[in-house]
Symmetry: C2
Subunit: 185 residues, 2 copies
DNA sequence: GCGTCATGTGTACAGGCGTACATTGCTTAT
DNA sequence: ATAAGCAATGTACGCCTGTACACATGACGC
């Protein structure tokens, strides 16, 4: 029987620490030493558990995507009507969902990293497939695709804008995205 | 009288080279030495013309935003009807606009950098104000805001997706975003 | 009780980074 | 022609990085 010596959740704690560090410093400013300090483990522990920084980050991003996927799905659990959907999406854009603003920012770090590193594409593809699948519980696939893109853009604009972002505008945009082309139901 | 010695457009060439380097390596991988090589100038020339890498990047981003703003506005010049608008936006998302895909990727680097560096916020604010103003030539301000976000999201999803991105879906999503809530005109 | 070995850690090293600065080379005023 | 000065450059320095690796440590089979 294998017995872990001391710290069974260490690997996972390192990955969570990596996400924290990315949220604060960006992928660019993320180093072994910062992650080690955040996870409160010695520097050598990182090279012991992971084969290089790239692989560590890839696994951290995978873990983040899993967490976000679950939060995303859970957020739409109570949705029954078209109006519920509009409200739920609006809540998500305005930060009243499970995920923190910092976590969304990290997901944009992931997007950008994936643009250059094909190994990360599988993570982004999976995450986008998940979010679209959730939306397809309520609307047809083509509409889901447009709505998914709209959510992405609204989130990004809200994160970047310093001026207040009126909730009513978000709601109106979302309502149009899910309306039937011939008019509201 | 001041006479420039040798290379009057050097500053601008350095900034353009910086954008190229960012497009290829990301902000994270952008260094003085790479920029100098791309612009074909000596390393010392960068520290001579710019006070540190951060300021250089900020000016490069500003230059890029100006260029994108002009291309954006020009792209919508011939638009007369609502149908023209839908078509123009669809073209833009699918890469048939003046800007290259690489330039959009760099603009996402800018967004992410701006998320952490308040000095870059003025650049992103200005760029977003410009794009929204262009759209307001055709639709009311609230609709412009939603449409702007949708474009952003569609562009990002198209850049990241490896699967083909059907033009028809884009067109449908755009059409809904600009439709009057009571139904198509 | 004790060797054996996987597990875990501190340290050192080579390389690349941003930046400062002494030096060069060209231009202009005299 | 020459002195003077400024635009431009090459080089060097200190810092921080990722990673390797020699050593410590404690559990398990016997």
């Amino acid at each position: 029987m294998r017995t872990r010596r001391y710290d069974p959740g260490r690997r996972e704690r390192i990955l969570d620490a990596a996400i924290e560090v990315i949220a604060e410093h960006g992928v660019a400013g993320t180093t072994h030493r910062l992650i080690a300090a955040a996870a409160d483990v010695p520097l050598g522990s990182l090279t012991y558990h992971f084969d290089g920084l790239d692989q560590l980050l890839a696994q951290a991003f995978t873990r983040l995507a899993d967490r976000l996927s679950r939060a995303y799905a859970a957020h739409f659990d109570g949705v029954r009507s078209r109006d519920d959907l509009v409200e739920a999406v609006t809540d998500m854009v305005h930060g009243n969902a499970g995920a923190q603003v910092g976590e969304w920012a990290v997901s944009y770090e992931l997007y950008l990293a994936a643009l250059r590193d094909p190994a990360l594409r599988t993570v982004t593809e999976e995450w986008m497939r998940t979010s679209r699948t959730v939306l397809e519980r309520f609307v047809d696939p083509d509409t889901a695709r447009g709505l998914d893109a709209l959510i992405e853009g609204l989130l990004m604009h809200r994160m970047l804008s310093t001026a207040p972002f009126p909730r009513e505008i978000t709601r109106a945009a979302v309502a149009r995205a899910v309306a039937t082309p011939e008019g509201p139901a």
